[in-house]
Amino acid sequence: MNRFLLPFGIFLVLLGFLFVGLKLNPREVPSPLIGKPVPEFTLPQLHEPAQAFSPQSMRGRVWLLNVWASWCVSCRDEHPLLVEFARSNPVAIIGLNYKDKPDDARAWLAQLGNPYALSVSDRDGRVGIDFGVYGVPETFVIDKQGIIRHKQIGAVTADALREKILPLIRELEQG
């Protein structure tokens, strides 16, 4: 009896590891940017290309940076949520229009609604690389000091919004 106990114990431990592994998503790579200042950039605005935007202008405010593109399928999934979010307007969403044609992007927003305070065009994806973007859509929560506090990889879901993003925004607004 005793000699089965050890292998059985090892088996249980292995089972535990595998079970936890089932629930992990290998596509969600933790960002090293959490807790770091938002990367500096200056990019033309999507709707007014003559005007530039830089994250410095958001100092003192909590804001979201949402990476999107008209070619991105999951962006369509999360879009209604963002539109709804913008309607109740807890904080501004800045759109980073990633590797997109401005005409396509503007048409996409005209068709589906524009939840963004403004969007900027990152045509060659360089700013995206600075943000460690690898799977559009991605959403960053940035605090008043310009520190990245959270990164949502993939589409924002109602659950993620309710359980993580909105409480975090409320907490950051206090600070």
Binding site: V29, S31, P32, K99, G125, R126, I129, D130, Y134, G135
Partner: protein, 162 residues
């Protein structure tokens, strides 16, 4: 003859295909820089298709990152600086050879620990086996009993040769 040539061509095409597809063409022109670029790209994981390096992948992001590598090589950055550029943005996960630090100790030491554990278990098992005494030689009575049993089994209608 023509069929043979066609077969040879097919074989060549099959052989050449994967070799050419293995690494996407480097964009740098200078051969030394191109070599460095490919070597660096091989060390970095593509986050879109996670089991390929950015040298192998043709995902958009991999192409962009290869371009970054080429530009930074052209700008005179060292390999270490370029790798740091990548890990600052994408984390240690992009490295196929992760650095040794507190969070990765288990990753590096794990196989050695498992091997050590296996050796210890094996040693214990061997010692235990050595300790169990060899069976005592049979007594006269046991020998007689065994002989009788064997005879009985062979006896009825025996067609076996003794």
């Amino acid at each position: 003859m023509r069929a043979l040539a066609a077969a040879l061509l097919t074989i060549l095409a099959v052989l050449a295909g994967p070799a050419a597809a293995n690494v996407a063409a480097p964009t740098a022109q200078d051969p030394v820089a191109a070599r460095r670029s490919v070597d660096l790209a091989r060390k970095l994981r593509c986050l879109v298709c996670q089991n390929q390096s950015i040298a192998e992948s043709n995902a958009d992001l991999a192409v962009d990152l290869r371009r970054q590598i080429d530009e930074q090589i052209a700008a005179g950055r060292t390999d270490a600086e370029i790798v740091a550029f990548m890990t600052d943005r994408y984390g240690d996960f992009v490295l196929y050879r992760p650095p040794l630090k507190a969070t990765t100790v288990l990753l590096w030491a794990g196989p050695a620990l498992l091997l050590l554990l296996a050796v210890l278990v094996l040693r214990r098992a061997l010692r235990q086996q050595a300790k169990t005494p060899a069976p005592a030689p049979l007594t006269e009575e046991e020998r007689a009993l065994a002989a009788r049993l064997l005879r009985e089994q062979a006896a009825p209608g025996s067609d076996r040769t003794q």
